[in-house]
């Protein structure tokens, strides 16, 4: 039986694309409440894992439970309880920001008046009121992340899954996103997000899962994972600084830099 204090738990999650194993037996655990970070180098399988957890990609093997309910067996119950912002900012481009929010709200069966009220507040908090009637296709990256997050929050989910929410976002918008998310978690809700920005993960998260080559290589409370080091150092030690050649070496690249006169 799944522990009720666990927001998310996967067992032996596997996904293959042809010959390549993208995710090879992931046991992801996220405790309830607060921020949980999913970090790993490019190609580690973070996006694939999050897609399977959020019910957008069917796993080849393994199970996913969110709040004790099986994601793939009990879709109706799980989907009402989670909010998702996948990678790539794929939104309904030809709706305006306001229409996108009201579409999402109505799709989830929230009464129109309530949807409009929540949408207005979200637009206001996200500083999007001025662009609310522009088409999403004309939005900048930061605006798209914000409207995507607003759409994911509209039905007040228990758990929020964000794939690279801060990638390509300017510092002002990033700050807005963090503030909104902080308010959201303060009441006991859970945010799971993947990121490359270690400082941000370190600043926000109480729980970290480190992925590498389709597996979880470390998982636990932040302090346990970083064990006295900075998260960045711990991360590099865990995944190994492979493929970087010899960064300190003096071989090669002798032409790079100012020409000695």
């Amino acid at each position: 039986m799944a522990d009720i204090t666990e927001a998310v738990r996967t067992r032996g999650l596997v996904k293959r694309f042809g010959q390549q194993v993208a995710v090879g037996g992931v046991d992801l655990v996220v405790p309830q409440g607060g921020f949980a970070g999913l970090v790993g180098p490019n190609g580690a399988g973070k996006t694939t894992t999050l897609s399977m957890v959020t019910g957008l990609l069917r796993p080849d093997d393994g199970s996913v439970h969110i709040g004790g309910a099986d994601v793939w067996r009990d879709q109706g119950a799980v989907k009402a309880r989670i909010g998702v912002l996948p990678e790539g900012l794929r939104l309904f481009e030809r709706l305006s920001g306001r229409e996108l929010l009201s579409y999402n709200g109505q799709l989830r069966g929230i009464p129109k008046a309530e949807v409009d009220r929540r949408a207005e507040e979200l637009l206001n908090v996200m500083a999007l009121t001025g662009s609310a009637d522009k088409l999403v296709v004309d939005y900048s990256t930061g605006m798209r992340k914000k409207i995507g997050l607003a759409a994911a929050l509209l039905h007040n989910p228990d758990v929020l899954f964000l794939d690279e929410p801060f990638e390509g976002v300017d510092p002002v918008s990033a700050n807005t996103l963090v503030e909104v998310l902080r308010r959201y978690t303060a009441s006991g809700s859970t945010v799971v997000f993947s990121s490359h920005v270690m400082e941000l993960v370190e600043r926000l998260c109480d729980w970290v899962s480190v992925m590498d080559r389709g597996r979880i290589v470390a998982q636990g409370p932040l302090d346990e994972v970083r064990a006295g080091r900075s998260l960045n150092e711990a991360f590099l030690a865990l995944v190994g600084a492979r493929g970087d050649g010899d960064p300190a070496g003096r071989e090669g690249l002798s032409w790079l830099g100012a020409t000695p006169s």
Partner: protein, 535 residues
């Protein structure tokens, strides 16, 4: 100013046209790597181009057998077609070739002169340009007389070819600023329909029996075109003497002019930023049914579909194309359907319209594509998916039902008996229902991605052309078969059967939605993947 690195400097390595030619060949080769489908497609187009070049050359050469006047006039018209084709076709397929977009080359330290010769060389690299050069060269074999005539003719052909290329570059470059903006691409995408229609025009005219004498039509066309560059080129090749020299000089002048304009446009394109992000606000209207319907997913989907039909160029193209194809088919039917009964002329256009409209929805999730996940994360049962499809059908029907009524009314008027409007409209509505039911199934069974950037040549993402073909033709055939039980009796004179058409259509569309909802829920991850292929 020399850079701080002595080796990185203009002059040490010459960046000549060959660099661009190799870049273009690399791009073509890289595009084919690892995809059998694309490789097959490439082989197929290469063979097609070779055939086109060879057959075209032989046909042009065979003009020698015709009288001198006819030969010159034919060449005039064909050369004009080539010139216009060169100007328009790359525009419709913009984005096919990276060497054509000057903005990609803006950061390299190239002088405009290098860029011009390089892009010129790149744009004549390829099987289609060479094939069209071969066809153009056929004119020399067909028209020229004497050794001097052949030599001058060859020069004129090369000049005309160069003019084609220059014009094509000039058009794409001067429009590249617009083409990079969202609005510009939207406009272009919709204009594709009109160009495809315009291509149907001669066919229609001939079908309609408008052209009395092909010889007279040719003469009229050619004399209208005789002072265009193409006409001058054609007469120069035929003449071979001093007139030819003057013609060649004129063409060279035109090329220089076009080249100069091109350089100017290129200079501007390289430094003009994309200013398309300043979008205007949109009106917040949802369409009538979304206002009437109770709150909830159904109203949400209907409202979204209405907005997409209006705002997404792909939606608009779909509707325009459906209406246009119906018009073309109906028109050609009036042309050769003299003996047909009045009822057929009234009913057939409306039914064809219904099929054409419903075919647009044989891939209902294709336009949502990469944003479909938003629906998927909200839908937890097959009932939700069924509601989604029902919303799409409702939106289509709201536009299509009055449209088909109008079509039936026009067709009935033209057929001479206004009374036919009732059975025609009823039958067409029934066919629409059948088509939507079939379309719901193909949408979930053989989904494919509709690319953001439409061009006139394909409606699917790279590698999905076969699936798109199966989906639309499968839907067409199934709809045709399912429509037979109601259409055939009505056509044969059992008009009362049309009263059953609407219930029949509703039943089929309901059944389609019911099965499609179950399938969609079972395999929506595959649906998401198939509709979000990178384009």
């Amino acid at each position: 100013m020399a850079g701080r690195d002595p080796l990185v400097n203009a002059g040490t390595v010459r960046v000549g046209p060959m660099v661009f030619v190799r870049l273009k060949l690399r791009l073509v080769a890289g595009n084919l790597r690892g995809s059998t489908q694309r490789l097959l497609g490439f082989v197929f187009t290469t063979i097609a181009a070779l055939l086109f070049g060879t057959v075209g050359f032989l046909m042009m050469s065979s003009l020698r057998l015709a009288s001198a006047d006819v030969a010159v006039e034919t060449v005039t018209v064909l050369f004009t077609v080539f010139l216009v084709g060169w100007a328009i076709v790359p525009l419709l397929a913009f984005g096919v070739d990276d060497t054509l977009d000057p903005s990609r080359l803006a950061l390299f330290p190239l002088r405009t002169g290098q860029l011009v010769t390089g892009m010129f060389a790149a744009s004549i690299t390829g099987v289609w340009p060479l094939a069209s050069l071969a066809v153009t060269a056929g004119a020399v074999a067909g028209l020229a007389t004497g050794i001097g005539g052949v030599l001058l003719g060859a020069v004129v052909v090369l000049l005309h070819f160069a003019l084609c290329v220059m014009l094509s570059r000039l058009v794409t470059t001067s429009l590249s600023g617009i083409l990079r903006t969202r609005r510009g691409r939207d406009v272009l995408a919709v204009s594709v329909v009109f160009i495809v229609l315009a291509a149907q025009l001669p066919n229609l005219l001939i079908n309609g029996g408008v052209s009395a004498d092909p010889r007279a039509v040719l003469h009229a066309l050619a004399s209208a075109l005789s002072w265009t560059p193409s006409g001058v080129a054609a007469r120069s090749i035929a003449d071979g003497g001093l007139t030819a020299l003057a013609g060649a000089a004129l063409l060279a002048l035109l090329i220089a002019g076009a080249g100069w304009l091109w350089i100017a446009a290129l200079r501007r394109a390289l430094v003009t930023p994309d200013a398309s992000t300043q979008g205007a606000s949109v009106r917040n209207s949802r369409g009538l049914p979304a206002k009437v319907l109770p709150d909830g997913p159904l109203a949400a989907v209907v409202g979204k579909e209405f907005r997409y039909a209006r705002r997404d160029p792909r939606g608009r193209v779909g509707w325009f194309a459906a209406i246009a194809v119906t018009g073309v088919m109906a028109f050609s039917m009036y042309g050769d359907g003299e003996g047909a009964a009045g009822g057929v002329l009234a009913i057939a256009p409306a039914c064809i319209g219904a099929v054409m409209i419903s075919i647009q929805w044989c891939n209902a999730f294709g336009i949502d594509g990469r944003s479909l996940w938003m629906n998927a994360v909200a839908y937890g049962s097959d009932r939700d998916w069924r509601t989604d499809i029902a919303g799409r059908h409702l939106a289509v029907a709201t536009i299509a039902v009055p449209l088909l009524l109008l079509l039936a009314a026009v067709a009935a008027l033209l057929s001479g008996d206004v009374g036919w409007v009732v059975p025609a409209a009823l039958t067409a509505w029934g066919v629409l229902g059948a088509g939507l039911g079939v379309g719901a199934l193909t949408s979930v069974l053989v989904p494919y991605t509709v690319p953001e950037r439409l061009n006139a040549f394909t409606g699917a993402a790279p590698g999905q052309g076969g699936i798109a073909f199966v989906a639309s033709f499968g839907a067409l055939i199934c709809t045709g078969l399912l429509a037979l039980p109601i259409v055939l009796p009505v056509l044969l004179g059992l008009t009362w059967v049309s009263a059953l058409a609407v219930p029949y259509g509703l039943l089929l569309s309901w059944g389609g939605r019911r099965i499609a909802g179950k399938i969609a829920f079972a395999r929506y991850p595959a649906l998401l993947q198939a509709t979000s292929v990178a384009t």
